[in-house]
């Protein structure tokens, strides 16, 4: 909403400081988004007094003027026919930058030097008149700022009005709030010009009435509860007077003609949208508010044919729809320069119907914006009278009969009961009855009585549709009391009954763990192109690229790897902890899981000169380790196994909850291979860890190289080693792998180190040797693997 400082000053009848205004409006709940000076391009101009004017010796149409700016006289060559000695004009001195962007310079015109320029309205972009220079009806001293002298030194404040406060969508409402804040009175600004007094609208019986020969009817009382109208005949459509035009221009509304400007003035001042019809075009003549008929069309003011439906309220004459009620008028009944007689509409429309109408038509207007938030229907008669007064003052004509007020089911604004104890319960401070009363009166409410039960009966004003229940009044009390005036002392509290959500605790542990592994967390957009039928589609996606919710995290991470390659970055280590979605049954809530995924590519360690500049690239063994770590953190009950060329995590229930992947990406030739993993985060609470006693006896180790043929696996060997009972085996470790040499093709030798320990006593060498031999026998029997050579291990670890 654009607000003019000068317009507010006219209401409050005192000068306002823009900075203070901004501060106060913020604290009242209507923060100022921006402040723009009106006519900022004219700030260098001054009032110039023409002391003398002589014809130019060498040019018939030019005159040579002596212009006084309060300090000096300047010779100015002027081509305007209307320049006259003793009068004041806008004067642009040498150096002034004009609205068009050019700078006034001293220049020779037909042999005489001109030091500046006297300006026309058109040159100052203040009107269309280019016929002569702008004669100023002011007695301001020469040299006074031009804007100041013409009272054009205004600021336009763009305020951010929350949807609950339609009353702030007009200057009157803002002035009312400020008056309450400053503790002063406010009054409607006077209308300039002569006009007869306009009688109060006359209430029609039922849903139909007449004014000036026009039948006014409501056939859709839900959509249009109240409809007022009036007829003015014999007016002259023309440009608006200066005061009206500058009011509108100050808030960024273009002046059109005196009739449209009058309705726009009321819109910006009182927040009531009105509409004027060319009476000659109304068939009947009648104006009827009724439901649209499916398939019916209306040619709206923006020259668009619109199809309406039965949920919309249309304005119709006897022959058909001529406008969309509360949204936009029609082109066929528009007021034109030739219009002599008009019908003025001032109506109320039902907010949610207007909202649905404008949204299904895709047509949001100043009128619909206000009606869907709620326009004060009790103030409609005053708005209509004021609009008629402005039209009569600026366009002449006469009112044909009393305005009519069709309001089949009149209502009153609600009465709400406020308990002072409730105020205290919510706000935490005792606010005396008198203060409560004072605050509520300040916002325009009427405190009706003091019922014996200690409640305050409050009749809320019609312009506050947001005040419906007691809590709404509590907020008004807090607002008027001033949020800053409440204590902010931290008091004792009871902690909640709930523990931290286990899934969040687990996610935090995963992040710490993977960051410690040298990976950076990334957060990617959860919307993707979709992967198969299980992806959840969006009904209204931003684009085809973001039409589905992600099923997995890896595709998003791969894009980030490619982004790094595009920047020439080769060493990439990323992970993400994020939500993924999967379709459930039709109409059902999609399934959600938190996944943990990581991608690595590039060197295993940062380059160091001691390596001679060579450090190997990450291989599958690196991602396997990260995967094991991620599974231990994210899904500790799962076990990691080898399956089909990669590692998978298998839950206790036997389902696959994670896997590693070799990633095929769009890689530049210098890029290293990319390895990834993804695992489901188990949201269950984690078992707390237990301490295991540290050994007090020494361990003994034995190393052995076993020859594994063909498909024998290290895992199978280890399983067989561990399965041998009664050996006091503590751990098995793979030391190295060797192939080639004298080994048969397809075979390899894998060195294992076995550690034995008895927690109670030191094992004797002979015992260890015996256990070691039993294990080797078992391995040979079960896996068919024999030692290549047995090495005696060194005692102790």
């Amino acid at each position: 909403m654009n607000i003019s400082r000068k317009w507010l000053e006219a209401f409050l009848r005192q000068p306002l400081d823009t900075h203070d205004l901004t501060e106060r409006l913020a604290m009242l709940g209507a923060p100022v988004d921006s402040v723009e000076r009106s006519h900022a391009g004219l700030s260098d101009l001054v009032v110039g007094l023409v002391k003398d004017t002589q014809p130019h010796p060498d040019a018939d149409r030019l005159s040579v003027c002596t212009v006084f700016d309060g300090q000096d006289d300047y010779q100015v060559v002027c081509g305007a026919p209307n320049v006259e000695a003793g009068k004041r004009y806008p004067f642009a001195r040498v150096g002034t930058v004009m609205p068009g962007g050019f700078t006034i310079e001293k220049r020779k015109i037909r042999g005489l030097t001109s030091y500046g320029m006297l300006c026309s309205a058109k040159e100052l972009e203040l009107g269309e008149d280019a016929g002569g220079i702008m004669e100023l009806a002011t007695d301001a001293d020469p040299g006074t700022g031009f804007l100041e002298a013409l009272e054009l030194d205004d600021e336009c404040l763009e305020i951010d009005v929350t949807p609950n406060r339609p009353d702030l969508l007009g200057h009157k409402g803002v002035a009312r709030e400020l008056a309450a804040g400053y503790g002063i009175q406010f009054r409607l600004p006077a209308i300039e010009g002569d006009y007869p007094s306009v009688p109060a609208p006359v209430r029609a019986d039922g849903a139909e009435g007449t004014t000036g020969g026009v039948r006014v009817a409501i056939e859709d009382p839900e959509g249009c509860p109240r409809f007022l109208g009036a007829v003015i005949r014999g007016l002259t459509v023309g440009p608006s007077p200066e005061w009206l035009r500058s009011r509108l221009e100050a808030v960024g509304t273009r002046s059109i003609n005196n009739i449209v400007d009058a309705t726009n003035y009321i819109l910006m001042e009182l927040g009531q949208p009105l509409h004027a019809y060319d009476l000659a075009t109304l068939r009947g003549p009648a104006v009827i508010a009724r439901r649209g008929v499916a398939g019916e069309t209306v040619l709206t003011l923006d020259a668009t044919e619109r199809t309406v439906d039965g949920d919309m309220t249309v304005i119709a004459d006897e022959d058909g729809a001529i406008g969309i009620g509360g949204v936009m008028g029609g082109e066929t009944t528009e007021v034109r320069s030739s219009t002599r007689d008009i019908f003025v509409e001032c109506a109320s429309f039902q907010p949610s119907r207007i909202r649905r109408t404008r949204s299904s038509l895709g047509l949001s207007t100043d009128a619909s914006f206000r009606f869907e938030r709620g326009v004060d229907r009790w103030a409609a008669p005053d708005a209509l009278r004021r609009c008629l007064e402005i039209i009569l003052a600026t366009a002449g004509g006469t009112l044909d009969g009393d305005p009519v007020d069709v309001w089949p089911e009149p209502t009153n604004p609600p009465r709400i009961f406020l308990r002072p104890a409730r105020v205290r319960q919510v706000l935490g401070e005792e606010i005396p009855w008198e203060a409560l009363e004072q605050y509520l009166v300040a916002i325009g409410a009427t405190v009706v009585s003091k019922p014996d039960d200690g409640r305050m009966a409050v009749d809320v004003p019609g312009w506050r549709p947001d005040l419906r229940e007691e809590i709404d009044l509590v907020e008004e009390v807090a607002r008027m009391h001033g949020y800053q005036n409440f204590s902010s002392e931290l008091r004792p509290f009871r902690v909640g009954r709930l523990p931290d959500a286990p899934s969040d605790v687990a996610a935090r542990a995963v992040r710490r763990g993977l960051s410690a592994e040298g990976l950076y967390e990334v957060v990617t957009m959860p919307m993707h192109r979709g992967e198969g039928s299980e992806s959840v589609p969006l009904l209204n996606p931003l684009s085809a690229e973001e039409a589905f919710l992600r099923r997995r995290l890896i595709p998003g991470l791969v894009r980030e790897v490619e982004r790094n390659w595009a920047h020439g970055v080769r060493d990439i280590r990323l992970y993400e902890v994020g939500t993924v979605f999967r379709m459930a049954g039709p109409g059902e809530r999609p399934e959600e899981e938190i996944h943990v995924a990581g991608l690595i590519s590039g060197r295993r360690h940062p380059r160091h000169w001691t390596d001679g500049g060579h450090s190997g690239d990450c291989a599958q063994w690196d991602v396997a380790a990260l995967f094991q770590r991620a599974v231990a953190l994210a899904n500790p009950a799962a076990t990691v196994q080898v399956e089909g060329g990669s590692w998978v995590a298998v839950s206790a229930a036997g389902s696959v909850v994670g896997r590693t992947e070799r990633i095929d990406a769009d890689a530049p030739p210098w890029a290293a291979p990319v390895y990834g993993f993804e695992v489901v985060l188990d949201p269950a609470e984690r078992q707390s860890q237990r301490y295991r006693a540290l050994p007090e006896t020494p361990g003994s180790t034995r190393d052995v190289s076993l020859v594994l043929h063909h498909d024998a696996t290290a895992e199978a060997v280890e399983t067989a080693i561990r399965a041998t009972r009664g050996t006091r085996l503590e751990s098995v470790e793979v030391l190295s792998e060797f192939s080639g040499g004298d080994l048969p093709a397809g075979s390899r030798s894998v060195a294992f180190r076995l550690t034995f320990r008895d927690p109670e006593r030191t094992l004797r060498d002979a015992e260890v040797d015996k256990a070691f031999r039993r294990i080797l026998q078992a391995v040979q029997q079960q896996v068919g693997v024999a030692p290549r050579g047995v090495d005696g291990g060194a005692a102790g670890e």
């Binding site: 907020e475 996606p541 790094n564 360690h605």
Partner: protein
């Protein structure tokens, strides 16, 4: 004739002279040979004192003890010299060469901000609650006192999901536009006192540009109990602002509107960039909007079967992305959704 006392002293003095040129192994052997507890020369000589005439014991004993001290300090000096030699050999290399490092990783700057906020509220007795990102219309709007067909919905440009079927009114699935549905879920699951903070991803139908993202995080707080008032709301959030920003951060509350709180407020802090004098970041006002808050609307408590006459509460919500951008001076929100290693590595552990 047994070795005389004089011989013993002379022999020891000769050995003492040799200590200075011994290597590490010789030094250890010599230590054992002279000072060894079982068979060291000096040890044996000291033991033999008892067999001497009384008058000689004192002078000879003193002489031997002095020798022992000299040996000990000679050994010590030799050891120190040798250690210095090793160190000076190390000093010969160019220590300005780069150190050997390992990869460092890190938690995303937005997550760090969330963790920090959570930590502050942990200290104020709040626990973390979470909830699903796909929600029903009812939990995202209706239960939170959003009237149907109301302009308040314009503040929430919603992304709807196409899950098939024919869901009844209010059961249509959408991507939550705020974390507030978790308020409802929490209050329905646990009777007051409730004190939770709710971090999570939210979605809006916003074009991805420098200051808007269609998915973003939010962190929300909710406290419901008997006797909770607007004063507690202010006190808690001022405490948060002082902990998170700095103890002398200026804070102000001004009226606002959210359907699910009343009274509603915006909390501003003194501009972090200009300190309050007015700049482009704060639109010249000297203030920056940091969070929205208010007293829980009685209708919200009713939707959760909590008696609004007995219990009151406050709620607040803020955007960690914006706070992250402010804190680190990040100019474009899109950088926070990219895995650019050059960017992320600026925010190490």
């Amino acid at each position: 004739m047994p070795t005389t006392r004089h011989d013993v002293v002379q022999q020891l003095q000769a050995r003492l002279a040799g200590v200075d040129s011994m290597d590490e192994a010789a030094l250890e052997r010599e230590h054992v040979h002279v000072l060894g507890r079982k068979a060291g020369l000096l040890t044996a000589a000291l033991k033999s004192i008892s067999q001497l005439p009384i008058e000689e014991r004192r002078t000879f004993g003193a002489e031997l003890n002095q020798l022992r001290q000299r040996f000990e300090s000679a050994f010590e000096a030799r050891r120190r010299t040798m250690a210095q030699t090793v160190r000076s050999q190390e000093d010969d290399v160019d220590l300005t060469m780069p150190a050997r490092t390992t990869w460092s990783g890190g938690i995303h700057p937005v997550t760090r901000v969330i963790d920090e906020i959570v930590e502050i509220f942990h200290r104020l007795g709040f626990a973390v609650a979470v909830g699903p990102e796909a929600e029903t219309e009812w939990l995202n709007f209706g239960a939170l006192n959003f009237p149907p067909d109301h302009p308040a919905m314009d503040m929430h440009d919603t992304l709807y999901l196409d899950v098939g079927g024919d869901p009844p009114e209010g059961e249509r699935m959408l991507l939550r536009t705020h974390t507030s549905p978790v308020q409802i879920r929490t209050l329905q699951a646990s009777p007051p006192p409730v004190r939770v903070v709710i971090p999570g991803t939210c979605y809006r139908n916003d074009t991805f540009d420098a200051s808007h993202a269609p998915a973003f995080s939010q962190i929300e707080g909710l406290a419901v109990d008997e006797g909770i008032t607007f004063v507690d709301l202010k006190a808690t959030l001022i405490h948060f602002a002082h902990e998170f920003f700095s103890p002398d951060t200026k804070v102000r509350f001004r009226p606002s509107f959210f359907p699910f709180t009343e009274p509603s407020a915006e909390m501003d802090i003194g501009c972090l960039l200009c300190g309050g004098s007015g700049c482009r970041a704060c639109k010249g006002s000297g203030w920056m909007e940091i969070l929205g808050c208010g007293m829980v609307h009685p209708n919200v408590l009713k939707s959760c079967d909590v008696d609004p006459e007995r219990y009151t509460g406050f709620a607040f919500g803020m955007g960690p992305h914006r706070i992250t951008m402010l804190r680190y001076g990040i100019p474009d929100i899109r950088m926070l959704f990219e895995g650019d290693m050059r960017f992320l590595s600026q925010f190490g552990e």
